[in-house]
Subunit: 500 residues, 2 copies
């Protein structure tokens, strides 16, 4: 057994190392690759993904996993075998031709989406969306092993790629509860007539200073820049390439403080998770993030729970004022704090606040399930989108660019991805609540610029476990309670009470 | 036959595409990789080189090459088969474990070299150099098929990786002739008592302007920046990753005009060769540079023959003056021209002039042969280096940073590489002489900023052929004469006569 495991382990780690080279190529493509490099890069990327897929789905891998399943192996090996088996069973169900077709038509659909979004013309994107949905249905059928008999069955196999062990039935329950609570809460804010002074954040903020201040904050909260970088891209992201090489990106808007600062804090949360994964398990499930919902909990926790808090700005506001004396010199801390905690319904998910954000997600979750199951035809998407925005957030969508064309995900075939954002928010609040309980004076620590205790707590409770436990179990063990909306709601209510 | 060739071709192109991913990783390692990424990068690099080596040395490749050798195939295929066979015969002699170990320990040694150079502490680098040499000896023994019986036999098999078809016996002859002529020529300059006004180049040159001006010149002479980049590294280099992605690097010294400018012109020469290789042959010998000595002829031709010429500065000096009005505003063109053509012994190879440069190379050629053969122990390197610099160039080496730690090559296991620099100088002079003959008023073209005719000539005579001909034959066809020291000497004598 030990020999079989050793052999399998070496082979799959090697496959993961090969895959990690593709991560660097992907990062480079979005940061420094010259335009004419695209064709060569496409050849490199398709070769690497084919080679990784071939290595991972070799017959021998299946045989060895079969041998090891149900055998007595140590706890680490058992967790790896369990997760490898899950991934292997998924991978072998999908014919290479479908994988290729999804990749190929994804490139075309993404281009069409870009054009449609630019022109705000849904008609340009519609046939590509229809094709993407058709391919996702085929994918779901392969993964089910038969034609799915319900919308949930169909959705769950796609969701599994992003949030293993999660189900849409469970999500529907918890998202329903959340929606029920959030809608009146947000309405209350709106009806108060009190508006956060967000213009403070729209003053001139020199780009170089934004970069310096964000990096300073990132370092301070615990991003190890000897094992990471910050670069500039159109859309911020985090890429964990190897255990000692985790890179984040951001974008700069000279007239917007928050766009850069909070996206750097967000990506730093992701990056610190990657840096906290056990390096000795690199290339195995034990060295890999538990799920996207857990990954997002780390980014959201630092972005929202820590870096929008009163305690954080007690520590950091003097630094921000010193960096931006022109914009912030005369702004009292309390006004600034109110501005960065603004809650107000808006059109764009990526620019929305921590309360309304979840309604954007819940809308997409419902729509994508109905689109896939054919309950909602692609023709009806804009209307359904706009209706949902009106019902949930009370806003009128003026055009599809700011409506159903705003996100890239569906064009890339990423159905089942959106829910992980709200799972991240729920997990973040639960973890932060538990950390506060365990660490005592957490606010005092944060206000003194001491972030090490919180990071150590996350390392111990979340990071070091990799995929040892399914995401819900991992968070339950750390937070001491089952997934629920209570911690997030309590947090939001407290913030609203503070300012409204 | 056609089928065999097609199959082999597809397989080896795929291998080359895989290899090109390693080029990007190598570039990243020297530009943007965070320090703690070194271990993971070492694993990625060793895996990629092992995989490439395994793919390239598969039994089937040997069988197919055997089938194709001596068969009637078209001229393109014949050239590819000839070069593949050479490379295959080399590759199968080296066990994969050694290839992997050389790659792995190369990454570590390079990092140690960087640290050692920074601190000017040879002791930090010494154990890594010893290990590197030991691995190169093992490599040479594999390539010889037995323990080498002479220093030349040992050296030639390593040299072949950089300069195919060349031998150290031949190099010793031509380098001997060159040294014999150069030493009195340089002495004549020295004894004249006339000193180039190099302090002109050591004034304050703002870094950002240096970058802009170098880029402008690079673009102007023909570097396509839609298919390339310029970044900053400790040691300037050019990396051709894919046909549409060729990257160069430089370094900046605020108080040195030449360091950046001429290194960018140098690397641009390399880059334009890479950009001129036939993209349709990407991944085959026909799409690959003929040799490093030919590669270096391109960089040297642009750096020295073009960009230090009177004609070039007639065109470009007003731009330089405009960019650096403080440093150059009052400097007459003739003084500036004298300064950039200064000949005087100095410590750093990459900063040395086009005459003394070759003595730096001849020193390294001798030392590396002795290091490999064990005639010179690593303990004795600093002393031997310093002694050689004193004998050949008459200079005292004040510390190892400016002595034996200045170059990255040995840390990467690149033994047999240095001679290609002087081969490049010899080839460059021969090609430029021929281009002048063919193009008529070449100086007039350059003085008008018209570089396209010269670049087109090089594309036609050198670039488009890839490895179609062995290096010496390629240059002979283009230059119309056998390799000799005459064109370079004539060029150097003319420059010396102009200024001294």
């Amino acid at each position: 057994m030990a020999d079989t495991y050793r052999e399998l382990h070496a082979w799959l780690v090697e496959t993961a190392v090969l895959g990690s080279t593709a991560s660097l190529l992907g990062w480079d493509e979005l940061t420094y690759m010259p335009p004419k490099g695209a064709d060569g890069r496409a050849r490199q990327m398709s070769l690497l993904s084919r080679m990784c897929h071939e290595q991972f789905t070799q017959k021998k891998v299946g045989q060895q996993l079969g041998e090891l399943m149900g055998q007595k192996v140590d706890e680490d090996a058992a967790a790896n075998v369990r997760e490898w088996k899950r991934a292997y069973d998924r991978a072998v169900k999908v014919p290479a031709s479908l994988v290729e077709e999804i990749a190929r038509s994804g490139v075309i659909a993404r281009q069409a989406w870009g054009e449609a979004r630019g022109k705000s013309e849904y008609a340009i994107f519609k046939p590509h969306l229809a094709r993407t949905i058709e391919l996702q249905r085929q994918l779901a059928a392969c993964l089910c092993g038969h034609q799915p008999t319900s919308a949930d069955e169909q959705y769950d196999v796609l969701l599994d790629a992003y949030e293993p062990y999660e189900t849409s039935a469970n999500l529907r329950v918890i998202f329903g509860q959340l929606r029920e609570q959030l809608v009146p809460l947000i309405a209350r804010v709106r009806q108060s007539g009190k508006v956060a002074p967000v213009e403070i954040l729209k003053r001139p903020y020199p780009v170089e200073k934004q970069r310096e201040l964000s990096l300073e904050a990132a370092k301070r909260i615990g991003f190890d820049l000897q094992a990471g970088r910050l670069d500039t891209t159109l859309h911020p992201f985090c890429s964990g390439i190897t255990p000692g090489d985790v890179r984040i990106t951001t974008r700069y808007d000279e007239n917007d403080f928050g766009n850069c600062f909070f996206s750097v804090m967000h990506e730093t949360g992701h990056a610190m998770y990657e840096q906290g994964l056990p390096a000795e398990h690199w290339g195995t499930p034990l060295g890999d993030a538990a799920s996207l919902g857990v990954h997002e909990s780390q980014s959201r926790l630092w972005e929202n729970l820590v870096c929008r808090s009163e305690a954080f700005w007690r520590f950091f506001y003097p630094k921000a004022q010193a960096a931006f004396s022109q914009a912030l010199g005369n702004v009292p801390a309390d006004q600034f704090l109110f501005a960065v905690n603004a809650i107000r319904p808006s059109l764009i998910r990526t620019e929305s606040d921590e309360a309304t954000y979840n309604l954007h997600v819940i809308l997409r979750f419902g729509l994508e399930q109905r689109l896939l199951w054919g309950e909602l035809p692609v023709d009806g998407l804009p209307e359904a989108w706009n209706k949902g925005m009106k019902e949930m957030l009370g806003v009128e969508v003026p055009d599809d660019r700011r409506g159903c064309l705003q996100d890239v995900h569906w064009s890339q075939g990423a159905f089942g991805y959106f829910p992980t954002y709200t799972l991240g928010n729920l997990n973040a609040a639960a973890l932060f609540t538990a950390a506060r309980r365990d660490l005592g004076d957490l606010d005092g620590q944060i206000a003194r610029g001491e972030f090490a205790p919180l990071l150590a707590w996350l390392r111990e409770r979340i990071h070091r476990h990799g995929k040892r436990y399914p995401a819900r179990e991992l968070v339950r063990r750390a937070a001491g309670q089952e997934l629920s909306i209570a911690p997030l709601l309590a947090h939001l209510k407290a913030r609203i009470d503070r300012f409204w």
